[in-house]
């Protein structure tokens, strides 16, 4: 698309941080570009609509920071980040997106992003994050931090004592009725607990729950029984 190359002024040639804005929303590109250009020491050298165009720009223009959207046509933010980091190790990528799902944040950070900002940030926050990235410091939106913390937490930590016991009986292959008989509770209560276990482990079936439980050693493994 239109890569607006601002001719660097004499004072900016030495110090200004060269920034590439990658987003498929034209107004967002335009807004961020004007924000950057209005900020001291920052310069938007190019815009790109997706990952592929971003790679093309990086190949021919000297860029310090890439401001990268996550969901884009043709090539998404995570793949583009990985490719840019591989080909241009000196270029730092700052993610700017409206998604903060665990997968998205993890993918982006694994791909080598320097920071993860959300499209709820104010103009000042954004400028600060860009400057921090240039200085080699990470900026993570609180939601992104939360997602990463969630991702590293051990599975099943939030299960209650009762739920653990039922999970154990599930892994022994007992039916709901068997479990109800064994624990002397009603069938409805067992079903209620099983539903909670499935939702806490984020799985859709009992089999998945048992497999996950065995994998993360939430229940004694079958060989020791």
């Amino acid at each position: 698309m239109d890569n607006r190359l601002n001719p660097p002024t004499s004072s900016q040639t030495t110090q200004s941080v060269k920034i590439l804005v990658v987003d498929d929303h034209p107004m967002i590109r335009r807004g961020i570009a004007s924000l950057i250009n209005a900020s001291e020491g920052l310069e938007c050298v190019a815009e790109a609509v997706d990952g592929i165009e971003a790679l093309e720009v990086c190949a021919r223009t000297q860029v310090d920071i890439v401001l990268m959207d996550m969901i884009m046509p043709r090539m998404d933010g995570a793949s583009a980040t990985q490719a840019i980091r591989a080909r241009h190790p000196n270029v730092r990528v700052l993610i700017l997106t409206s998604f903060y799902e665990q997968d998205q944040v993890q993918n982006a950070m694994r791909a080598g992003a320097m920071g993860y900002m959300l499209k709820t940030a104010s103009a000042d926050e954004l400028v600060a994050a860009i400057r921090a990235a240039y200085a080699g410091q990470r900026t993570l939106a609180p939601e992104a931090t939360e997602a990463l913390v969630q991702a590293t937490q051990p599975v099943g930590l939030n299960l209650t004592e009762r739920e653990r016991r039922i999970l154990e009986l599930l892994s022994e292959g007992l039916s709901n009725q068997d479990i109800a008989d064994r624990l002397s509770i009603t069938l409805a209560t067992v079903k209620f607990h099983v539903t909670n276990i499935l939702s806490k482990l984020d799985v859709s079936s009992r089999t998945e729950a048992v497999l996950l439980a065995l994998k993360h050693r939430l229940v004694p493994s079958p060989s020791f029984r």
Partner: protein
């Protein structure tokens, strides 16, 4: 050698011996008077004659016996038409033949009885076949996907072929009330507005009883108390009036997967209409009706789920669009002061952007609200909906969109929604794939027709390369078909794209859509 043959042998030997003895006695008495050779001649003649006589007697007896045995044999094989010869000699044979004749008589009687029984069974079979035909006919309705109301009508129509009822109704549970889903009374005009109405208190009470017992209820001598009558006169509930002349009725539970989904009620103006046979037929038919109705309910639910899923997807997209637009506005607003200090002219452009972004966000928000309240979508004007589409498109800042609204067409709700959806889809394609700089939307309407035209100056595409699911083209065509409209998409590489929707299609052109 059998016993009888042995006896016959003894008889045939004893008889000549006795005759011989008789001859000897006569010879002794007549001693001396006749010459010896005459005596011997007489004796020999006696012997020979008696021997022949006995042989003849035995042969005859043997023949009768054989014939009787053969007949007995045939009788034992079930042939009741053989005639038993009446034997006078000897007394045992007489008794035998009499008992055999009696046996044949009783067999003939049994045969007549069997024929009568057979006729009864035939009649039963015919009835059963009729029952089964009715069940199969109703079962076949399962295969034809249709909405609950027409299904109910069909079922009651089929039932009428086998049961001469005065009126039949289907009640169905809808959330926390029971409604009249189908009603049929041959020869009597049924007010069409009773369908879908909740039952009156009296009938709802009956339904509760059915719910409790889960068993068919039959009342063959329905009597209404004076108070019931008075109450009905006072309340004038439309569904109660449907049953006010009923003298006998039967109510059967419609059960699917152990769940009571409704009831079938059959009424008649004669008392004692529900004989055991009719009860049996209704019981047999009810399961089929329950299955068919359950099936239709599931289908309706699935359709509803699909519609909701689509609406959710659109709402999610719009929500995303609103937040993107607002973010852009936020960033521009945060910059404009700084820009103003350095370059007032650039700040003026930014303020224009800001205005455009706000307008876009507002339009997207309105569109989002329409998705959350589908009835509002049906009542909105198509021109207004298209205006939002234009504003949101301009808000993205990649193209100019102009709207030519010549006259708001007079469209039925569903047609309006589908036309709006087609426009949305076309817009989505333009913004994602066309790289167009300018889009023109034209809406021309009259009292009973309308034309929607969406033209862009983008890169276009080769329709022959994009059959089927690409760009949601098939989706646009099928939406148009659903409302009796036709979508025509014209495009070629480098020449832009034009999407035209015409409603309604003239007869004969229906179902022939083109991607030219």
């Amino acid at each position: 050698m059998t016993k009888s043959q042995f006896r016959l042998g003894i008889v045939s030997l004893l008889a000549p011996a006795m005759v011989l003895a008789c001859g000897a006695v006569i010879a002794w008495i007549a001693q001396g008077e006749w010459p010896v050779w005459a005596l011997w001649l007489t004796l020999t003649a006696f012997t020979v004659l008696s021997g022949v006589g006995v042989q003849w007697f035995v042969r005859g007896l043997e023949r009768d016996l054989r014939e009787t045995a053969q007949n007995a044999d045939r009788i034992s094989r079930g042939d009741a038409n053989s005639n038993i010869p009446f034997l006078e000699r000897p007394i045992e044979l007489t008794a035998l033949s009499v008992s055999l004749q009696r046996m044949v008589g009783s067999m003939r009687q049994r045969q007549t009885e069997l024929e009568v029984l057979n006729n009864v069974l035939d009649e039963g079979l015919r009835e059963r076949t009729q029952d089964i035909t009715a069940i199969v006919d109703i079962g076949q309705r399962l295969g034809t996907m249709q909405d609950l109301r027409s299904l109910s009508e069909d079922i009651l129509g089929e039932l009428q072929k086998t049961l001469d009822y005065r009126s039949a109704s289907i009640w169905l549970r809808e959330q926390n009330r029971v409604v009249l889903a189908g009603f049929r009374a041959p020869g009597i005009e049924t007010p069409s507005d009773v369908l879908g109405l909740p039952l009156s208190g009296q009938e709802a009470k009956m339904y509760t009883t059915l719910e409790k017992n889960r068993q068919a209820m039959t009342v063959n001598d329905s009597k209404r108390s004076f108070f019931d009558w008075l109450w009905a006169q006072v309340v004038q509930h439309p569904t109660t009036r449907l049953y006010e002349n009923s003298k006998s009725w039967m109510m059967l539970p419609l059960v699917v997967h152990d769940q009571l989904i409704g009831a079938l009620r059959v009424d008649h103006i004669e008392q004692h209409f529900f004989t055991p046979e009719r009860e049996r037929l209704l019981n047999a038919v009810t399961n089929q009706i329950a299955l068919a109705v359950g099936h239709a309910q599931l289908l309706a639910q699935a359709e509803q789920v699909a519609v909701i899923a689509e609406r959710n997807r659109i709402a999610r997209d719009l929500h995303d669009a609103v937040s993107q637009t607002l973010f852009a506005a936020n960033i521009v607003a945060g910059t404009v002061f700084k820009t103003f200090e350095r370059d007032p002219e650039a700040a003026r452009v930014q303020l224009e952007d800001l205005q455009q972004l706000n307008r876009g966000a507002l339009a997207e928000l309105r569109m989002l609200l329409f998705e959350l309240r589908p009835d509002a979508l049906e009542h909105a004007k198509l021109g207004e909906l298209l205006r939002h589409l234009v504003d949101s498109g301009e808000g993205r800042g990649e193209m100019r969109v102009s709207l030519n609204l010549e006259q708001e067409p007079n469209l039925p709700g569903p047609a309006k929604v589908e036309l709006y959806r087609i426009a949305q889809e076309a817009f989505n394609n333009i913004s994602k794939h066309s790289q167009a700089k300018h889009v023109i939307i034209t809406l021309r309407g009259t009292e009973e027709s309308c034309e929607l035209l969406i033209n862009d100056d983008g890169q276009g595409f080769d329709p022959s390369q994009h059959k089927g699911g690409h760009f949601g083209l098939e989706n646009m065509h099928s939406r148009a078909r659903d409302i009796g409209a036709i979508t025509t998409i014209n495009s070629s590489t480098g020449q832009g794209t034009s999407v035209q929707v015409i409603w309604p299609v003239e007869e004969g052109k229906r179902n022939t859509w083109t991607t030219a």
